[in-house]
Amino acid sequence: MEKNRNNERLDRTILRTSTNYLLPLLILFSIFLLIRGHYLSGGGFVGGLVASIAFVLHSFAYSPYQTVKMFAIKPFFVIPTGLIICFLSGLLPVLLGYPFMSVVWFADSVVVIGALGSALIFDIGVYMVVIGVVLTILFTISENT
């Protein structure tokens, strides 16, 4: 019994240490995916999933309670914020007189990221919605068990 508990603590130590390094790396990777996507276009959905995996890992290593504490706001409110961003990115071309959801490109390309269009804004919205949904589901389940 005593031995088991020691083992558990040992496991946690390894997991926690690796999580401390993996969390920023995974989030960096998710932002890379957000900008690069699968084949060059945006990858809001995969990026969002990778980012939420990072937080899931953190909640395994520590506890869901401590993961929630990292967020200034409840993860639930990331969902409508992301949806609003998607909505506005669709509305942007309408203001310029194109059909809804057309991609508008900004005239100058940005350093490192390259050409910037409204599709990226849409992807950022998707990224946030995915993180919000996954974390909300996860924390709701872990609260109830």
């Binding site: 639930f76 409110f77 969902i79 409508p80 949806l83 609003i84 909505f87 669709g90 509305l91 309408v94 194109y98 059909p99 809804f100 959801m101 057309s102 991609v103």
Partner: protein, 503 residues
């Protein structure tokens, strides 16, 4: 005319839904946002209807992807009518539900799902792409699952499970039919499909595919052998939800049928006979189902099934005048059906039950409300100056002209049974003396604050006035239906508007 405005009502409901998410737990704020959103969406729909009437078709190629490759949104007269009806009913039910639903249900995100549902309905009415139509159907179905099951009691879950299973089956058949259609034509745009399907040599395969669509939409609109889920699902949820379901959800199936069988497929002799047979059976079984039911809600649920038969009958005749009758009947039916469910909800608030044997003396206790209720109930039957009369008589005439006497007989029987059932509801619930003395505890309605009473009664009175207006100025509605029917019988105009004049 190419315009972004066609998406405005859809986006308005989406925006309202998103804003509601920010106020997840605040009941009062949610109510206010929902009413404001519904009102603005209603005004946008009104403007869109007016634009469609003055400019003809409105189209939009989403994201600048030209048809047939991208998703097209198109509004013709039929779509514009449906959009306006949806906006009207959603405004009425939205106001009604602020008072009739309890707080815990609103905390579960009722208004968010409600706006999502309406968004799906509007999308289904406006899309010009068969796969996109499927997606909007899914949006509607998923929202309606949630509305049906939230706060579920055992009885409610039973109906919901039937509803979920049948609609899943419908979706599978719908998707299969789309797959086959894509396999034989290589396109999903409705206008482009119309051109390509006409060139397919294997007409047998086309007929089979069209019937798969008929089965899929038949499940959703509850035609004869596939309707059994409806009466068990529609009488359990709160009346605000039943109102929007009864008014609009089955009509979405009817709309999809009309769209598919006027633009993509031109029905052959076999299909028309099948429609007539299904119509007769739907009318008769729906009518028979109403007779021995004691609960008002169950009677109304069976009446939905019965009246779907009118639409299928019109499609079986497949003449321009039959389509005029269908469109007119659609206008009447959406408004009156949702209104009768709201009335049944108010009766529940007054007497705690919708069982006709335990109701009574509503006329004595609430004379003004009973008058409005009578107006609505008898519009449903179609007593001459009220709205149901004109489309029914039009359909009877057309059936008589086509010498389809069996169908005519079924239509008349269904109408008489409707009359019988409505008169029975009137005499049992409103007229006769109450079987037991009404104690103050039962009467929830009196305990509502004044604003709550207004929110319950105003939508009912408003929709009652609309149905009265339809009956009294039937001439202008006849012209409107004729315009829609003309467009349905001449799909070339639709195709030209989507694909441009390059054909």
């Amino acid at each position: 005319m190419i315009t972004n405005f066609i998406l405005a009502p859809i986006l308005m409901h989406m925006f309202t839904a998103i804003v509601l998410l920010f106020f997840w737990q605040k009941v009062l704020v949610q109510k206010i946002i929902s009413i404001v959103g519904n009102s603005i969406a209603f005004l946008l729909c009104l403007r869109m209807f007016e634009m469609t009437m003055s400019n003809g078709y409105l189209t939009l190629q989403l994201g600048s992807w030209q048809a047939p490759f991208g998703i097209t949104f198109i509004a013709d007269t039929l779509s514009a009518i449906m959009v306006l009806l949806t906006a009207l009913v959603s405004l009425a039910v939205g106001i009604y539900s602020t008072a009739s639903l309890n707080e815990s249900r609103i905390r579960f995100g009722y208004f968010f799902i409600f706006h999502f549902l309406v968004m799906g309905l509007l999308g289904a009415f406006l899309t010009g792409d068969i796969f996109n139509l499927y997606v909007w159907f899914e949006v509607v179905i998923i929202s309606s699952f949630i509305l049906l099951t939230v706060g579920g009691k055992k009885r409610q879950m039973e109906g919901a499970i039937k509803y979920v299973t049948m609609n899943m089956l419908g979706s599978v058949i719908f998707l299969t039919a789309i797959g086959i259609l894509y396999g034989i034509t290589g396109t999903l745009n409705i206008a482009d499909l119309a051109l390509k399907v006409a060139q397919v040599e294997n007409t047998g395969l086309v007929t089979v595919t069209s019937l798969l669509f008929f089965v899929a939409f038949g499940i959703k609109s509850a035609v004869f052998p596939l309707y059994f889920w409806l009466p068990s699902a529609y009488h359990t949820p709160p009346s605000a939800i039943a109102a929007i379901f009864g008014g609009l959800l089955t009509k979405m199936g009817v709309y999809a049928m009309l769209r598919v069988f006027t633009v993509i497929f031109q029905p052959d002799y076999f299909t028309l006979v099948l429609f007539s047979v299904i119509a007769i059976l739907t009318l008769l079984t729906g009518a028979l189902g109403t007779i021995n039911k004691k609960s008002i809600r169950r009677v109304l649920s069976y009446l939905i099934v019965c009246h779907i038969g009118f639409f299928i009958a019109g499609m079986g005749l497949n003449t321009e005048w039959a389509f005029v009758a269908i469109v007119f009947y659609l206008i009447h039916d959406v408004i009156v059906k949702s209104n009768v469910f709201m009335i049944s909800g108010v009766i529940v608030k007054m007497r705690e039950t919708v069982d006709m044997t335990r109701l009574g003396s509503l006329l004595k206790d609430y004379p003004k409300f009973s008058f409005v209720a009578a107006l609505v109930l008898f519009s449903l039957v179609g007593i001459p100056p009220l709205s149901g009369f004109w489309p029914k008589i039009l359909l009877f005439q057309e059936t008589f002209k086509q010498e389809n006497y069996l169908l005519l007989a079924a239509l008349i029987i269904a109408s008489f049974v409707t009359l019988f059932v409505i008169v029975r509801i009137w005499s049992e619930a409103f007229w006769k003396e109450s079987p037991k003395p009404i104690t103050e505890e039962i009467d929830h309605f009196e305990s509502f604050p004044f604003s709550g009473k207004i929110a319950l009664i105003a939508p009912i009175v408003g929709l009652a006035f609309v149905s009265l207006y339809i009956g009294l100025s039937a001439n202008s509605f006849m012209k409107l239906s004729e315009k829609a029917a003309y467009e349905m019988k001449n799909p070339e105009i639709y195709i030209e508007n989507v694909l441009g004049a390059k054909q």
